[in-house]
């Protein structure tokens, strides 16, 4: 990969990210977040993370024609259920992967 392209993307991104992280640690005496803004920030994970994972799961072409090659959707939903009840990242990943292996064993 072109190294100018790489670093001209990465260095500003890392500076921007660091400034975001620094923001209130350095400025909390001068600025106060009002409750509405705090509430709005609390919606950021719900706005951003599903937008990252949606295309990864939906557009992945799998191997099982029984599920129209969308077996990852089924395994993903299974992972969602496990996550909802356990709230545990590790168990969720394991459940999703095992779910996928199970579907392959059964239908492939």
């Amino acid at each position: 990969m072109n190294s100018y392209y790489l670093w001209s993307s990465i260095i500003p991104l890392s500076i921007g990210t660091f400034l975001i992280r620094s923001s209130f640690i350095f400025l909390s005496d001068k600025f106060k977040l009002n409750d509405e803004i705090k509430l709005l920030f609390s919606y950021i994970p719900a706005s951003v993370l599903p937008a990252l994972l949606g295309p990864m799961v939906y557009f992945h072409k799998g191997e099982i024609d029984f599920f129209n090659y969308h077996e990852r959707l089924i395994a993903f939903l299974f992972g969602c259920i496990i996550c909802f009840y356990t709230k545990n990242i590790f168990l969720t990943i394991i459940a999703g992967l095992l779910g996928l292996y199970f579907l392959r064993l059964q239908f492939l």
Partner: protein, 229 residues
């Protein structure tokens, strides 16, 4: 408890969340190398940004030759959530010296924030919270960099039939679901999920930015009209 004990306690308190992070780190390393980055480039990116989701998306967009501006903008949108953590942790970190504030800011991650806030009431003073937080942050830093390095070195050895790349959307989902505190959060998450799929063919890979912006806009409407659905 004395200072070093609290620091170690913070370090150890991260152990339950580390196993969920390791596959993510391994994939970051593997994806870096398979996308044509060298080992120093992957580790440099990893050290500078220290934000898994934004790094992974940045590398993905780079392989599609997206403009640098859009890569930077997308990554920053993904990392905007750190403002919230910065505000929350400033309560105790503002008592640190300048150098430790810098380090404290750098070490802010989803995991170190989540674990510190979960133990907040157990810690009796801001000094204790500072030592605990740096223990958490260091633990995350060490294991994250180690797992990315392992991914760079051995990623190609793991057979692709194990589908470890599937761990990436799973770990994003596992970070999302605990953050959904009421029905309005579920609404926003489902809206983003659907729109991200509908907008996949937008030019310049703008789909993510447009989806995330609409999600934040809908959240604003929820708050504005105080609709507790």
């Amino acid at each position: 408890m004395i200072k070093t004990d609290i620091f170690k306690y913070g370090f150890k308190s991260m152990f339950p969340v580390i196993p969920g992070m390791i596959p993510f780190g391994l994939i970051m390393g593997t994806v870096g190398i398979t996308s044509g980055l060298s080992l120093p480039e992957t580790m440099g990116l990893n050290f500078l940004v220290f934000g898994g989701a934004s790094q992974l998306v940045a590398v993905d967009l780079m392989t599609k030759n997206t403009s640098s501006y859009l890569i930077i903008f997308t990554g920053i949108i993904i990392n905007l959530r750190f403002i919230l953590y910065s505000a929350a942790n400033s309560v105790f970190l503002k008592e640190c010296s300048f150098l430790f504030k810098l380090m404290g800011a750098y070490l802010l991650t989803d995991q170190s924030y989540a674990v510190t806030s979960a133990k907040e009431t157990e810690l009796r003073s801001n000094t204790e919270r500072i030592h605990f937080y740096f223990g958490c942050g260091l633990c995350m830093f060490v294991f994250w960099n180690l797992s990315v390095l392992l991914g760079c070195l051995f990623g190609n050895i793991v057979p692709s039939s194990l589908s470890l790349d599937f761990a990436v959307p799973l770990s994003f989902m596992a970070l999302t679901i605990p953050a959904l505190k009421s029905k309005s959060y579920y609404f926003i998450a489902i809206q983003s999920l659907v729109l991200s799929i509908l907008f996949i063919n937008l030019p310049f890979n703008l789909g993510l930015i447009v989806t995330a912006s609409l999600g934040i806009f809908s959240s604003y409407l929820f708050i504005k009209f105080k609709r507790k659905i």
